[in-house]
């Protein structure tokens, strides 16, 4: 199972027996394009599965969850950020994901929705290749703020504080899953997708903070 880094905690709860490779959705896409032995691809966006579907490498992707982008700051909040506008203050060390990774794409959409693109991008000191790295930089206190999913913020509870985004800023973060055509065990892959979509799988996702598809 190739799955987005944001699914690192929840997927093994749904299916403990599977073998997982978690990473940035963009990196996983490249790996599948290069013939990596994946049976299922679950991404934190519709873009990467759609691109693979267009190339005929995966079956039609299905939306299985939604997620919410939030701003997190270290518990000690060194830059005193209390609302999303705080990230535009000069000297704030902001970490976001690469534009090719869903979390980076969503962060940029949020900047655009809030009309703070120039000021916010000026404060970006590091760009990561998956969301877990962004969480780590903030949890360690190296960065003053970072944009991640609410589900990751929950997982790092105790080390970070969550600053919600205003409704108009929120990009629609959707998680898609698809069976990889070159996978060895199509039946097992289908079964996995069904399990994720099943009431039980959905309940596990809800419990981890993911929204309804």
């Amino acid at each position: 199972m190739f799955a987005a880094a944001s699914l690192t905690k929840v997927f093994p709860q749904i299916e403990p027996a599977a073998t997982y490779s978690f990473g940035g959705s963009g990196a996983l896409q490249t790996q599948i394009e290069q013939g990596a032995p994946a049976d299922v691809f679950a991404a934190a966006s519709s873009k990467q599965p759609a691109a693979l579907y267009a190339k005929g490498l995966v079956d039609k992707p299905v939306e299985f969850a939604t997620n919410t982008l939030v701003l997190i700051v270290p518990k000690s909040n060194p830059a005193h950020i209390t609302s999303v506008s705080g990230i535009t203050k000069p000297g704030v060390k902001l970490v976001i994901c690469n534009a090719t990774v869903p979390c980076g794409d969503y962060a940029r959409t949020a900047f655009k929705n809030l009309n703070i693109t120039a000021a916010a991008m000026k404060n970006v000191v590091s760009q990561t290749t998956d969301v877990t790295q962004t969480v780590a930089e903030v949890a360690l206190g190296q960065a003053d703020a970072g944009f991640v999913y609410i589900t990751d913020a929950d997982a790092a509870k105790g080390k970070v504080l969550v600053v919600g985004l205003p409704a108009q800023a929120k990009p629609g973060a959707t998680d898609y899953i698809a069976v990889v055509k070159s996978g060895k065990d199509q039946a097992a892959a289908q079964a996995f997708v069904q399990k994720v979509l099943s009431p039980q799988g959905q309940a596990t996702l809800r419990a981890a903070g993911f929204g309804k598809p």
Partner: protein, 298 residues
Amino acid sequence: MTTAAPSGSRHYDQTWWYAALGRAVVSVGATLVVVVVMAFLLLPIVALFTYQPVHDLVNGFGTKVATDAILVSLKTNAIAFAIMIGLGTPFAYILARRRFPGRSVVITFVEVPLVMPPAVAGLGLLVAFGRFGLLGHTLTVLGVDLAFTQAAVILAILFVASPFYLRGAIAAFEAVDATLIDVAGTLGAGPVRRMLRVAIPLASGGLGAAAAVAFARGIGEFGATILFAGSFQGTTQTLPLAVYSLFDANLDQAIAIGVLLIIVSAAILLTSKLLLGSWTSSRSTSAYPGERSSFARP
């Protein structure tokens, strides 16, 4: 078995054939082993060089991401290299010349970063020098914030690469005939002069080779840098970090930068071999400066 044989004896005849057969099997086997190992080592390099047309490859070298990463890599590595030589050379000289209790412990600790996974080195640097690390508060008071700066990149390179120099330099100094240095002393040369004018020139081959290996390691440094310094184009994104970052965005460009790194590393390796003066010697397998005979002089 009735054809001409070196001996009329049937027994001898058989032994001769078996021996010949044995030699043939051994030489075919030996060739096969060499071919398989070489193919395994060279294939990924060949694949990287031939992945895209040469034209695209050369274009990849010139992209903004690549040129930014080249500049960051050159600058941070040059500074780290200067610090490594400036501090590491006297350090290695002292350790090679002096005998004191705990010397072997010191030398062992010098080598620890060599066997430490780079990601662990990055974590160590984070919890030591990070904003909330051991020295983080002290540094903040002093107005130093290393997070996501080129200084952090330099520290990561120094931590991971300089032990290669230190270890080689200690071995190089140890291989210098101590009586020559002592004689210089009796002729009135002070300790600094003895090191600069006698020991360093005598150990220069080994020092140069060790420095080249450390430089190559520094250019390729990845794990500690991404954890400790982050990755941002034009500031902290070195060549290996650019490869990693481009992997999911533009594989062609990532490979072009990868090829560039291979060329640079190969050039450094060649330099170190030449410095050791063992290029023509088939016995020398690497620029490992610990091999005394290759640079010890009469």
